[in-house]
């Protein structure tokens, strides 16, 4: 029995419909485009709202709102607002946290991908992921009651005794640290713990995705395992690792609750890590609900605007950095 297939004419409407919805390509494309446009609209809407709602504060304070100074005012009673202590607190704690977290996270990630015995890999993996899942307010509580008095205060005192006397570094390590440990150092430590899982997890995945041929080639050339890791694997995965660090930095900049609970929330002139400070996210969370005057509210919104632009700028710089690194690494690295 022979089959007689009668093809429909090419321009038949059924054929056209069939072509356009085959595998759902067209509708799928439309949905995807709509979603990405939505993200852009969202960003624009947030930025525009922050800009508009801070109009009076921007007009009243101008660039003086942002200028660095050791003697700034944040006086809701007399409507005098300057944001430098908050900007400084955010930058200092986030950078300190990143500096502390990079070696620790890289160490954990290298151990997990290169050196870890199989039976340990799974539990370690779980623990790192668990660390990421703990709510920040729990970190804050633990910080106040356990971590600050037990770790931060003694470490801070030791730093004050040593680096506090060093010529240039003393600016960052003048003390004394408050006995409770509530300080920028405490915030930086808590942030370090909070961003370690982020950086570790991404870095580990990056290292694991490096083709075994790279390791084998390096070892075959006579390199030790250390040389292989340091001179082959890390440069190979550098763009991915940078991405992980940027993710961590983003979290450190925006973290609110845990930092508020341990940083001491005090606007003092000292630029030291060992003294209480304040961050942008903390002051918004602390004061927005009870901000009474219009200018106070607007000043807080303007701080939000600064934080928004700072994050935006950071992401752009990060993207540039990753591009440049990716261009230098061999073709395979980008695959």
């Amino acid at each position: 029995m022979t089959k007689h297939i009668v093809p429909l004419p090419e321009q038949h409407w059924l054929r056209r419909l069939q072509r356009s919805v085959r595998h759902g390509d067209k509708p799928w494309q439309a949905i995807i485009i709509a979603m990405s446009v939505l993200v852009m609209l969202l960003m624009i809407a947030i930025g525009w709202m922050l800009w508009r709602e801070s109009a009076d504060a921007r007009a009243a304070f101008g660039w003086g709102f942002l200028t660095p100074s050791l003697d700034t005012r944040w006086d809701p009673v007399n409507d005098k607002f300057e944001a430098w202590p908050f900007i400084y607190g955010t930058l200092l704690t986030a950078l300190a946290a990143i500096v502390l977290a990079i070696p620790i996270s890289l160490g954990i990630a290298i151990f997990m991908s290169e050196l870890c015995p199989d039976w340990l890999r799974m539990p370690l993996n779980w623990l790192v992921e668990l660390l990421a899942a703990i709510p920040s307010v729990v970190y804050g509580l633990w910080g106040i009651f356990v971590f600050l008095p037990a770790v931060v205060t003694p470490v801070g005192e030791a730093l004050f005794e040593t680096l506090g006397k060093a010529p240039v570094l003393s600016i960052l390590f003048t003390g004394p640290i408050p006995p409770s440990g509530a300080s920028r150092l405490g915030a930086a430590f808590i942030l370090t713990i909070m961003i370690i899982p982020t950086i570790t997890a991404v870095t580990r995945d990056v290292l694991l995705s490096i083709p075994p041929s790279q390791r084998e080639a390096s070892l075959a050339l006579g390199a030790t395992q250390w040389e292989t890791i340091w001179q082959v694997l890390l440069p190979y995965g550098l763009s991915g690792i940078l991405g992980a660090v940027i993710l961590g930095l983003g979290r450190a900049l925006g973290e609110t609750m845990a930092v508020t609970m341990v940083i001491g929330n005090s606007i003092e002139g000292s630029p030291s890590l060992l003294r209480p400070g304040y961050t942008m996210a903390s002051v918004i969370a602390n004061e927005f609900a009870e901000a009474v005057t219009k200018l106070h509210t607007q000043a807080l919104v303007e701080i939000g605007l600064v934080l928004f632009f700072m994050t935006l700028l950071l992401n752009m710089v990060a993207r540039l950095l990753v591009w440049r690194v990716a261009r230098r690494t061999p073709q395979e690295a980008r695959a």
């Binding site: 089959k3 297939i5 093809p7 429909l8 059924l14 054929r15 419909l17 069939q18 919805v21 005012r73 944040w74 006086d75 809701p76 009673v77 007399n78 106040i144 009651f145 600050l148 008095p149 408050p178 006995p179 409770s180 440990g181 509530a182 508020t260 609970m261 001491g264 929330n265 005090s266 606007i267 003092e268 002139g269 000292s270 003294r275 209480p276 304040y278 903390s282 969370a285 602390n286 004061e287 927005f288 609900a289 009870e290 901000a291 009474v292 005057t293 106070h296």
Partner: protein, 395 residues
């Protein structure tokens, strides 16, 4: 065969999706049922407040200060047994948020520890504040004795006077063994350490801070930082200040910081068994913060209400008056409420809260003080002025 089947199948699938998407058409029985259910729900919420449907439940929404939140929560819960037809929902979003909400008309009533500003009265048109409760703010402290207490020595409570408290938060008195503190506490003289006082304050904007700083303003002309829900702390500038988030944050900082002091609500100190200092009041008497000393402070100012029914009651003259006390208020629209059943239910609830013995005892148990009769009468008189669509709400 497949070449025919596939396009046809596609069209069928597409059609069924289209039909599902245009579910509004009452073609299928399922959709009709859904529509009916939705209509029913909408009817219940919209028409419940209409006079002909008094049996339906009335939803009253409030928002604002967190200071009285524990009491309001208990009251609204208890009131659901008094009048099951009323559902009252109060959200503790902060006094500032509550005032914004009532000005914008998004809530039926607001709670606030701070007073409305003139421009808020203007933009809110017919707002009125009513005092509901009073609370005290106490100074909690933690110093490490300079030498160990003898076995039979029971450390007395710390005593501070008004000027010393101002000086501590101005960072003028910075050591525990400052002569001013030693002179006030002769029994503790040998034990007060030569250590720096860390002064803890609230980092979040708060009615507690407003009461405390208004008291400091009244205590001494030396206090120039003003009285508000968040201020610029002189003690921070001096490097001896720390901010804690919420009562719990302040208490935790004081407990964890040797040689510190801070301020929290009386109700918080009572429920957490924190030791707090006695104060020397304006009349020169030593007073402990409790229901009696707060009531005495309210009585001192019972005739001091402005025509807006607001009063600052810090630093009272009475011999038994505790000096750091403040009212927490309810804010209502007095003439523009259009839903008369809701307005009446709301006022009935507020009257019940201020008079019913079970309501007042609940407040007392939580460390708040209820209004003395002289004040309550003024509040009730103002309740009587509330109108709905031109007619008084309370007959």
């Amino acid at each position: 065969m497949t070449r025919f089947v596939r396009p046809v199948f596609f069209v069928l699938v597409a059609l069924s999706f289209l039909l599902a998407a245009c579910g509004g058409t009452p073609a299928t029985p399922v959709t009709v049922v859904e529509t009916q259910v939705v209509e029913k729900v909408v009817t219940a919420t919209l028409d419940a407040s209409m006079p002909e449907l008094p049996a339906g439940s009335v939803q009253i929404n409030g928002a604002g200060a967190t200071f009285p939140l524990p009491v309001y929560t208990e009251w609204t819960y208890a009131y659901s047994y008094v009048d099951p037809a009323v559902v009252i929902n109060y959200q503790g979003i902060g006094s500032g948020g509550g005032k914004k909400a009532i000005v914008d008309g998004t809530v039926d009533f607001a709670g606030s520890d701070s007073l409305l500003k003139d421009e808020e009265y203007t933009s809110g048109k017919d707002l009125q504040m009513y005092p509901m409760l009073a609370g005290a703010v106490v100074v909690i402290y933690n110093f490490a004795p300079a030498k160990e207490y003898p076995a039979d020595f029971k450390a007395p409570k710390l005593i501070l006077d008004r000027q010393t408290l101002v000086d501590i938060y101005n960072a003028k008195v910075t050591k525990w063994n400052d002569p001013a503190i030693v002179a006030l506490n002769p029994d503790l003289a040998d034990y007060l350490p030569a250590e720096t006082i860390t002064a803890v304050h609230r980092s979040d904007g708060s009615g507690t801070t407003e009461i405390f700083t208004k008291a400091l303003t009244a205590f001494s002309a030396d206090w120039t930082a003003g009285g508000a829900s968040s201020i610029e702390w002189p003690v921070d500038k001096a490097g001896n200040g720390v901010g804690g988030k919420g009562n719990a944050g302040v208490a935790a900082s004081v407990i964890n910081t040797p040689n510190s002091l801070g301020y929290v609500e009386l109700s918080y100190a009572v429920s957490n068994n924190l030791a707090f200092a006695d104060l020397i009041n304006k009349a020169g008497q030593k007073v402990t913060a409790n229901a009696d000393s707060v009531a005495s402070a309210m009585a001192d100012f019972s005739s001091a209400f402005s025509d807006k029914l607001t009063a600052t009651i810090v630093d009272g003259e009475g011999a038994g008056s505790y000096p750091i006390v403040g009212y927490t208020y309810i804010i209502l629209h007095t003439t523009s409420m259009t839903d008369c059943v809701k307005a009446e239910k709301l006022l009935n609830f507020l009257q019940w809260a201020l008079t019913d013995p079970s309501a007042t005892s609940r407040a007392g148990a939580l460390g708040y003080s209820v209004l003395p009769d002289a004040v309550r009468e003024q509040v009730f008189a103002k309740f009587g002025e509330v109108t709905c669509n031109g007619a008084p709400v309370l007959k």
